[in-house]
């Protein structure tokens, strides 16, 4: 059975997706859609994009067999090393693609929203490379917890605007970027950071990051001679997850797992698990799963990872969840931080706290898969980003920011 080609022409993944936006943005979305349709089939655009990915961003990223971690977890763990890309995350793929599109549409200015700062840094990078003006909206709270990334963006020539509305986090940065766009669509491309928002963004972002899964699939076949039993990725807005899932969707024997930010635990209400702890609704231009109260007001999300701290999720994930093709589970802050430390200590890799959610999830499903399959399972984990930006958060969490070493190996896990 072949899966339907989604989204449909009006941007729907089943009942999800679509366009819930002010009319003022429709023309810009139509223009973007038309520009993308042409670019998608234009060999010149594709060659330019591929050239930047290979010669600038450093892809294909490695597929690394994590031997010591595999031993610990009782599963073959393959890490898709997106943390090794330029700017340290999968996001560089999306921003390069969209910045090229902005150029193609003749728009000299890009705006972006950012939570952890990773998408902001990636956008500022692409804008510098392609000579575009760049303005990044960032919740005031996030500018404080990610000061280093704010400095990076400014070094790259971007203007960072701290957003003081609402909860002063990613959700409000997104609102502010949309408002800017309503007033500036003639000259500005909104370089949206995740596979969410109004059509055609979820499709465009998915396609630009889709190389992750295409590469990983080929690398699996080359390196182990078969496909993995499961693919695990963290899900905030969901771009890295859709990027690695997409190529595997038709492979029905490959189980897809999205791990959401469970914060203090979904039952506590302090979390960012939109699918497992939210309900269907409309936010930021699309119908999807949303954290909301019984009146449809958005509820503030919480996660130790600023990059996952978002009360919505891309509409394609909502659809993959409803159809049962992918499974979504919450991972708490504590579980993620234990996995974070485990990867540091077993493999010498400091992951982004986002990616640590995927690792924690892989650790959880490993024994279940072993039992189900009756053999050692192979789990492909998307290591979506590196942890440099999270050193302060992780250091505070583990209590190791003092000059005197207080952490005893093996403790605090």
């Amino acid at each position: 059975m072949s899966a339907p080609v989604l989204p449909d022409l009006s941007g729907h993944f089943g009942r999800y997706g679509g366009r819930f936006v002010p009319e003022a943005l429709v023309r810009a979305l139509d223009e973007l859609d038309a520009a993308y349709r042409t670019a998608k089939t234009d060999p010149e655009f594709q060659a330019e994009f591929r050239n930047l990915l290979v010669n600038y961003a450093g892809t294909p990223s490695l597929l690394y067999r994590a031997e010591r971690l595999s031993e610990k977890l009782g599963a073959e763990i393959l890490l898709k090393r997106e943390d090794l890309n330029h700017t340290g995350a999968h996001k560089v793929r999306n921003v390069l693609g969209q910045a090229l599109l902005a150029k193609r549409m003749g728009k000299p200015r890009v705006i972006a929203e950012t939570g952890a700062g990773q998408h902001g840094v990636a956008s500022a990078t692409a804008a510098a490379l392609l000579d575009l003006e760049c303005v990044v909206y960032m919740g005031e709270t996030d500018t404080e917890r990610q000061a280093l990334n704010v400095a990076r963006m400014r070094m790259l020539g971007a203007t960072v605007v701290p957003v003081t509305n609402g909860s002063r986090t990613l959700k409000d940065a997104l609102n502010e970027a949309l408002r800017d766009w309503v007033a500036s669509v003639d000259t500005t491309h909104y370089l949206l950071g995740t596979a969410a928002g109004p059509h055609p963004f979820p499709e465009i972002v998915r396609d630009f990051v889709g190389g992750i899964g295409i590469e990983a699939r080929r690398q699996c076949l080359d390196q182990i001679g078969r496909l993995p039993d499961a693919v695990a990725a963290c899900v905030g807005g969901g771009s890295n997850a859709i990027g690695i899932f997409h190529a595997f969707v038709p492979d029905e024997d490959v189980q897809l797992y999205g791990f959401e930010a469970g914060g203090d635990g979904v039952a506590t209400g302090r979390h960012a698990a939109s699918i497992t702890g939210g309900s269907a609704g409309v936010l930021h231009g699309a119908r999807t799963y949303v954290l909301q109260d019984s009146d449809g007001q958005t509820v503030e999300s919480h996660s130790i990872s600023a990059g996952l701290d978002y009360p919505g999720v891309g509409p394609e994930h909502a659809w993959l969840h409803d159809t049962g093709r992918a499974e979504y589970e919450p991972v708490t802050d504590a579980e993620a931080m234990a996995a974070f430390q485990l990867l540091c200590r077993t493999e010498g890799i400091i992951p982004a706290i986002e990616s640590a959610h995927a690792l924690a999830g892989a650790a959880r499903i490993a024994p279940l898969l072993r039992e189900e399959l009756g053999r050692t399972p192979t789990i492909l984990v998307n290591l979506s980003g590196r942890g440099d930006k999270d050193v302060h958060t992780a250091g505070a969490y583990f209590g190791i920011l003092d000059p005197v070493e207080t952490l005893v190996p093996g403790e605090n896990s």
Binding site: P22, V290, T298
Partner: protein
């Protein structure tokens, strides 16, 4: 009286209609009712009640702050319906302006039913375009709620024609590319947009919103549109006032000034 009838009455008087906006429950449920009635008594023909929402992407800082205050005090969707009922019972025609998610959460058909029962004549949906509005269009028809969609200077002629065809009561023309908030000058894009709407349907009343804040601007817009929609400037009267009485008196004064403006359109 339906919103279309109110527009036709104003047209017969050779003037534009004044629509004044206030968020429900700002700063409290009782105070918002008092504000809306004061606006009506001082000359606002129609009260646009805005349902406070956590993520109002079409609104500028003034409306968002007022909505945040209402939400922080615990205002709920059912309070908005109560406010509409009170204002409408007091004789002021009401249209609701609301972002889409709260309506979907309430239940689209149930909301249309309860909105009609509360006495509202219409509903304006800033983030719901006709393309996604199938369920709403059916529910609004069933419960006889006029539906107002937005057109923008960036809308193509095809989209204007499609949108106007789905509107009942009046069309909301956003005067400029931007969000709500009073501006120092009326947008030069507005007259052309109104003209384009008239071209699509000469009989459909057009209300112009975004950027109007004083009597002179109201008169200017009244010179080319059927309705003048004012929000942020009115809300600011309450937001910036040192006390309730001052807020109400400023609200009355500005409403009168605007009402005077729509009665003396600039030629």
């Amino acid at each position: 009286m339906s919103i279309a009838e109110i527009f036709h009455k104003a047209r017969a008087e050779n003037r534009a209609l004044l629509i004044g906006c206030m968020p429900a429950g700002f700063p409290t449920v009782e105070d918002s009712i008092a504000s809306m009635l004061a606006m009506h008594q001082a000359g606002c023909d129609v009260i646009e009640v805005e349902l406070p929402y956590s993520d109002p992407v079409m609104d500028g800082p003034v409306i968002q702050r007022a909505s945040d205050i209402a939400l922080a005090r615990g205002v709920r969707t059912r309070d908005t319906l109560k406010i509409i009922e009170a204002v409408s019972n007091a004789g002021a025609p009401v249209v609701l302006m609301t972002y889409w998610n709260p309506i979907e959460k309430y239940g689209v058909n149930a909301f249309a039913r309860d909105l009609a029962a509360a006495g509202a004549t219409g509903m304006i949906t800033p983030d719901l375009i006709p393309d996604e509005a199938g369920e709403w269009i059916a529910a609004a028809d069933e419960h006889r709620i006029d539906r107002t969609f937005l057109v923008s200077p960036s809308s193509t002629d095809e989209r204007i024609a499609m949108t106007v065809a789905q509107c009942r009561g009046f069309v909301y023309a956003t005067a400029l590319m931007g969000v709500t908030g009073a501006r120092t000058a009326v947008s030069s894009q507005a007259p052309e947009l109104v003209e384009r709407v008239r071209h699509a349907n000469p009989g459909m009343p057009v209300g112009v919103g975004l950027g109007v804040g004083n009597g002179a601007q109201a008169a200017e817009v009244a010179g080319f549109a059927d309705g003048v929609i004012v929000g942020s400037a009115l809300i600011r009267c309450v937001l910036d006032a040192p006390d309730k009485a001052t807020g109400l008196s400023r609200l009355r004064a500005l409403s009168s000034e605007l009402a005077e403006g729509v009665r003396n359109p600039a030629k």
